[in-house]
């Protein structure tokens, strides 16, 4: 019996191994093709576009005009800085709001878990644009939120710290950051939920058993074990938020323009393709640089 089994696997092994060799590649193929066509190719086009000179009517010639990158940075650095600051604040706020919620869903919601998760995802059933437009209503001057904020002197406070310019909430840095936070919150909650869901509640009991107060338990056990979720969540929030232009356009003013808006208008309104391409490339490089520093400093390789 055993001998027969050994013999049969022995003779069957070479063909199956040969097949197994190309199967993973075959499975990778659609993904690779997709990336080639929709990522690598546009990237190459974009890079070459940024180094061309000319205009839409007369066509473009490749001139290896690298100085455009310096000019773009020189001209638009405030928008770059603003984008990263807004995205950073929105990411921080989303983390503050999302972490307790994700913790609750993962550890305490019990049989309501799925319901709460659906509620988190529910906003996706409407379009991004509609949801952001809704914030124009929510923050409008004649809506109770603004009135309340005025009565509670929140508007005064926001004005004092420079997040708004006047007594209203709309068309301000405040509104843009709120919009970004709101729109990308689910991207923060879901990865946090996944990593907090895996957290063994017995570890929390063990920490308590070993004299850790609830706060120490959080700092020494819960937080480090949820770091993969924190890193994933902050990346998924920060990256799209930094390139976003809808929130700045719909909720901000001329002083809150983000780099996404600049790229959008250079591409679609000014039709300065090389500059738009250069700006896109700078944004890409800056984000990749920041993310790699961040991931390395978070030291999550072994946790992921």
């Amino acid at each position: 019996m055993a001998e027969a089994a050994v013999l049969s696997t022995g003779s069957a092994a070479p063909p199956s191994r040969r097949r197994r060799n190309w199967v993973p590649y075959a499975l990778l193929l659609p993904g690779i093709l997709w990336l080639l066509i929709f990522f690598v190719l546009p990237m190459v086009t974009l890079a070459s576009q940024s180094l061309q000179e000319g205009n839409v009517d007369d066509g473009y010639v490749f001139t290896a005009n690298f100085s455009i990158y310096l000019d773009a940075l020189k001209q638009y650095w405030p928008q770059f800085v603003r984008s990263f600051v807004y995205a950073g604040i929105a990411t921080g706020l989303a983390l503050l709001l999302g972490y307790p919620l994700a913790y609750f869903i993962a550890q305490k919601a019990g049989r309501h878990k799925n319901l709460v998760l659906v509620l988190v995802i529910a906003p996706f059933f409407t379009s991004f644009l509609i949801r952001t437009l809704a914030w124009r209503t929510i923050l409008s001057d004649d809506w109770f939120i603004t009135t309340w904020a005025q009565n509670l002197h929140i508007t005064d406070f926001l004005q004092a710290v420079g997040l708004t310019d006047n007594d209203s909430l709309l068309n301000s840095q405040f509104a843009v950051i709120m919009g970004l936070t709101y729109n990308f919150l689910p991207f923060m909650i879901l990865p946090l939920y996944t990593s907090l869901e895996r957290l063994d509640p017995r570890l929390i009991e063990a920490a308590g058993d070993l004299y850790a107060s609830p706060w120490q338990t959080f700092r020494k056990v819960t937080w480090p074990l949820s770091l993969p979720g924190v890193v994933a969540g902050t990346l998924l929030t920060f990256i799209p938020a930094a390139g976003d232009f809808i929130n700045a356009r719909l909720l901000g003013n001329t002083q809150t323009t983000m780099i996404g808006s600049v790229i959008d208008s250079q591409f679609l309104r000014v039709l300065d393709y090389p500059l738009a391409a250069a700006l896109s490339f700078i944004l890409l490089v800056l984000i990749v640089a920041m993310v790699s520093v961040y991931v390395r400093r978070a030291g999550t390789e072994e946790l992921l």
Binding site: D200, R202, L203, E205, A206, A207, G208, D209, L210, Y211, A212, S213, P214, Q216, T217, K220, V221, P224, L225, L303
Partner: protein, 372 residues
Amino acid sequence: MSEQSKGDLSLVALTKSFATFTAVHPLDLTIPQGSFFALLGPSGCGKTTTLRMIAGLEEPTGGRIRIGDSDITETKAYQRNVNTVFQSYALFPHMSVLDNVMFGLRRRGDKDAKAKANEVLELVQLGQVANKKPTQLSGGMQQRVALARALVNRPDVLLLDEPLGALDLKLRRQMQIELKRIQQEVGLTFIHVTHDQEEAMTMADSIAVMNAGRMEQLGDPATLYEQPRSTFVANFLGQSNLLRARVNPGGTDEMVTVRAHDVDLEVSREHLPDGVGDVWLGVRPEKLRLGESGGPNHLRGIVRDVSFSGVATQYSVEMPWGQELIVIQQNDGSNRATLGEAVTVSWAAQHGFALDASQDAEAGAELVDDHG
């Protein structure tokens, strides 16, 4: 806090009820300082709930918990000088073995945390893996890390929740001896929760047998085994042959006779509960002898099953009334019986014990084999 007064652990009418059932009925128990104590019972008997209440992980519905003079009922888990070795070990996966062991000491701001942790790791023979992550260790090693992590804090009471449950048999035997050695070396109070009667008897100084949220019997392993006070204890700790019998009037101060299936049998008076007429007469399989050499109590039957296991042979002897008695004969050179042979089974009066016949003769028996 580390200078808390130490002393015996006492549970006073400790109770835990959930919405639909009572996990622990009022429980009174004193566990002497420095003893190795076992809470033994089948799953769902309330032993783990009791342990979690002592640890502070479960809030009692009623009653008090004291260590020496201090009442710790109201304190939180992290304020108690009590540590637990969890069934699943619950080691922190993101910390090294050393950091795991230092966790409790660090929370208390102990300056010598590292030295103490290393010392305890040596005690459990894990000094060489201090810098590894728990997931890189085998189950047995993880178990010892969990023990070290609790032990290093020198708690007033160390709780062990089925600590050997996940280990294979051989490793479990080894760890039982190890645990006992460590307990004697450090002299702390150990409370060991287990469903494994053999484990409890091997390790503990005294055992509380629990069933359905109540304590059935408390005593040292030998007393529990030789003189069980209920059919549950008789069946859950080892095997018992239980014969339905009626106490004959009279008898002497030492001896009473009971009549079982028209045979008069002797039993020591001290093994007979007061004031009962109908009893289960119990005798352990290894106390029975084939032949008449065992003592004055004789029963005749036919061998229906023989199984030889090296150290001993187990016989099943059918009585005229149909009941089968289990007889275990040591492999000491005495004659072996063969299948179908008519034999006499005998035993001494002091080896029998009588239990109130109002109990179920099967109580606890079906629970012995089903542990995972």
